[in-house]
């Protein structure tokens, strides 16, 4: 999650105060991890310094949280570019689990048991996320789905690796 770009995106809807930005961020993107006020204002200061937002006049008698921020043309272009750009797929070749499996085979440890334990751990998390979908709102369901599809991809990798363990074991022991 890119906090600066997400705040810029929120500002692209309409100019806003720091307090309202934090509230919207927490509601849509925080998901149990609220953004600290300090980070909101520090980020807005940096964005203002870089010319991506303009901080309007503070309202009389109010502190910094009453300053109204608006996105600049530069900031808006950055948000549009960011939104249109696909996210780089994660490189899965060097995951921790991959390293564990290869090491387990090298060390003649029960790699299949490790994979089964990892599968059970993944399934446990998938059950929790499924319950979140069942009991939560649409936003929760969408986020849970994102995690579920990624966990499912991991599980497919675990299954394929389990099916190839014998060949993999032979390879790592003879190389």
């Amino acid at each position: 999650m890119s906090v600066p770009l997400t705040l810029l995106g929120l500002l692209q809807r309409e100019p806003s105060h720091g307090y309202d930005l934090k509230r919207d961020y927490d509601e849509y993107f925080g998901r149990g991890k609220p953004l600290p006020f300090g980070q909101v204002y520090a980020t807005l200061s940096r964005l203002a310094r870089d010319g991506k937002v303009s901080g309007g006049d503070a309202e009389p008698g109010a502190g910094p949280d009453r300053k109204r921020y608006a996105i600049t043309e530069l900031g808006a272009r950055e948000v549009d570019t960011w939104l249109a750009e696909p996210i780089e797929p994660e490189p899965h070749q060097q995951t921790l689990l991959f390293s564990k499996v290869v090491l387990a085979l090298m060390l003649d440890r029960p790699a299949e048991d490790y994979l089964d334990a990892q599968r059970a751990k993944h399934m446990q998390r998938m059950r929790q996320l499924t319950e979140v979908k069942r009991s939560g709102g649409l936003l929760d369901a969408l986020l849970a789905d994102h995690s579920l599809f990624h966990l499912e991809a991991d599980l497919r990798w675990i299954d394929v690796t389990a099916a190839r363990l014998s060949a993999l074991a032979e390879m790592v022991r003879t190389s």
Binding site: Y114, A117, R119, H122, M126, R127, T130
Partner: protein, 239 residues
């Protein structure tokens, strides 16, 4: 130790004990043991050809294992006569499969009422029970529609209603959403889980799909004809 094990079927709704099953020279199950508690939703996972569907068919009394035993609430199932097992399948079990379980020439209401009619329930009562299931599964306007005219998701909801209408003790579902798209499959699965929870029905859900299995309370893996428990140790070895 065998002697430390509880009596067969004790505390479980359905249980398999060290069952083997071969088709010709090909072994499908090589000593599989598992149990499902009353009201539990149990996912049976495993790669293609691992024996998970054979396990389901043995539990449901469709196949007779070559050795080992199958128990339904303490009653041994695999040694019953064909007639008795057929009766048990009609009265105690419900089934949802991936394809081809509905009679396309019959209406939705006919298909749902069918298990009750086969159990010699009066026609009026059977159709009244079928009608109760229509709104629960979002089928309220489809009772008179022939099932051959339904979408995949609608057909699976009808199949679900038909599997539950006789209040089975165990629902066997083999890849029940395998032919549906993601969202339709999820809707059918939510309905299946909801109906089972409401009625306290034990569900044995065979699937290769982890997202489907995540709707269950617990999952077991079938690999090379044996059941692997959650911690990765063979159930047999753990005992």
């Amino acid at each position: 130790m065998i002697t430390d094990r509880p009596a067969p079927g004790a505390g479980s709704m359905i249980e398999a004990r060290e069952i083997t099953k071969s088709f010709g020279a090909t072994p499908a199950l090589t000593g599989a043991s598992m149990s499902a508690a009353p009201g539990e939703i149990l996912a049976v996972m495993g790669p293609s050809g691992s024996g998970k569907s054979t396990l389901l068919h043995c539990l449901a009394g469709i196949f007779t294992p070559d050795s080992g035993s199958v128990w339904l609430t303490g009653e041994r199932l695999d040694t019953l006569s064909d007639d008795k097992r057929t009766e048990l399948r009609r009265t105690a079990f419900g089934f949802v499969f991936q394809f081809g379980q509905l009679v396309p020439e019959l209406t939705v209401a006919d298909n749902i009422a069918l298990p009750l009619l086969l159990n010699r329930v009066k026609r009026k009562t059977a159709y009244a029970s079928a009608a109760e299931w229509l709104p629960r599964l979002g089928l309220e306007n489809l009772g008179s529609r022939r099932t051959g005219e339904l979408s995949g998701g609608q057909a699976q909801r009808v199949a679900l209603a038909r599997s539950m209408v006789a209040s089975p003790r165990v629902l066997f579902a083999d890849e029940p959403t395998g032919s549906l798209d993601t969202l339709t499959g999820e809707m059918v699965l939510e309905l299946l889980v909801g109906a089972a929870r409401e009625h306290g029905t034990t569900v044995v859900l065979v699937t290769h799909d982890a997202r489907v299995a995540a709707h269950a309370d617990r999952e077991i893996m079938v690999r090379d004809g044996k059941v692997i428990d959650r911690t990765g140790a063979a159930v047999e070895a753990a005992r």
